[in-house]
Symmetry: C2
Subunit: 150 residues, 2 copies
DNA sequence: TCCTGTTGTTTAGTTTCTAAACAACATTAT
DNA sequence: ATAATGTTGTTTAGAAACTAAACAACAGGA
């Protein structure tokens, strides 16, 4: 019974991940690969960010970020400027990068709207239970992470 | 507000995906990579399955399955036998493969137990709302898939 | 002046996948 | 019977996305 809910949840995660595997144009003249649009998203959410911070935010190595950022620079989606810290380089979106960022965000709006409407239409108890469910999942994932279980 | 719930959901998906990136031994003497334990899981859930069906179940190409299955064969985790259909080959777990399958399943049991307990402790309305929420997400993901939106 | 710590970069190698060509076999059409 | 078609699974070359490790460039102390 509840097992079925878990199965549906897993199927949803797979569905989401598969969507996330394809390259798109996002309103600009160059094809953007998943890793690239993810970095664009992270920069747009927090402009003038450094390579090191991007690596932390996205949970990958600095080398990995450096490579993707280099590709985005070549495609004209980001700019670099001297940062305030030692050896720091600030990364920001160009106009073209902003177009891609906004276009990508737009595609998530339909999902957002429907979820907003949903959460407004349910009672407080259900809402609290949904938050509680997420909390449990978070705890268990953290436990698995710490115990190196999987 | 509800945006925050969506953000938490996304964080959970990322957390899960990162866990899913590491190789483990799963109680056997060979290191199993993510793609390999996924295939083991699919075979264990549905024994005597074919390459084509595995490809459909896991949503990747037959070539991809063939490669992973070949590695698992080399590691002694699966067996092959003549199937009933034309040119069909049945794939099944060896004893060693079953060990890995069971070990992997065991690691999910803690999560399963906690979710079972949770769902038994909430009211029917909350339960229905959670199912409704998943339904909405499924619909939106399907819509994105069909419209090639992302 | 040398050592340390920080920044970002480059390189080689790995995993996982796809697309396309292929081989082997059965079924069907001519 | 021979040829065309459709199915099975395999192999190959190549791409994307990452890591680990070595590296360069610079600042701040000891």
């Amino acid at each position: 019974m509840e097992n079925e809910i878990l199965q549906v949840g897993m199927r949803l995660i797979n569905k989401y991940n598969n969507l996330n595997k394809k390259a798109h144009y996002y309103g600009v003249d160059v094809l953007l690969y998943p890793s690239e649009i993810h970095v664009i998203e992270a920069i747009g959410d927090n402009n003038d960010v450094t390579t090191t911070k991007l690596a932390m935010n996205l949970g990958i190595t600095k080398g990995g970020i450096s490579q993707t950022v280099s590709k985005l620079y070549g495609k004209g989606l980001i700019d670099k400027s001297v940062g305030s810290g030692i050896n720091e380089v600030y990364i920001s979106l160009t106009k073209k990068g902003l177009v891609a960022y906004e276009e990508h965000k737009k595609l998530h709006n339909a999902m957002n709207s429907r979820l907003s409407a949903f959460f407004e239409g349910i009672d407080d108890k259900s809402r609290d239970n949904i938050i509680g469910l997420m909390h449990i999942i978070d705890e268990e994932l953290t436990r698995m992470e710490e115990n190196n279980d999987f």
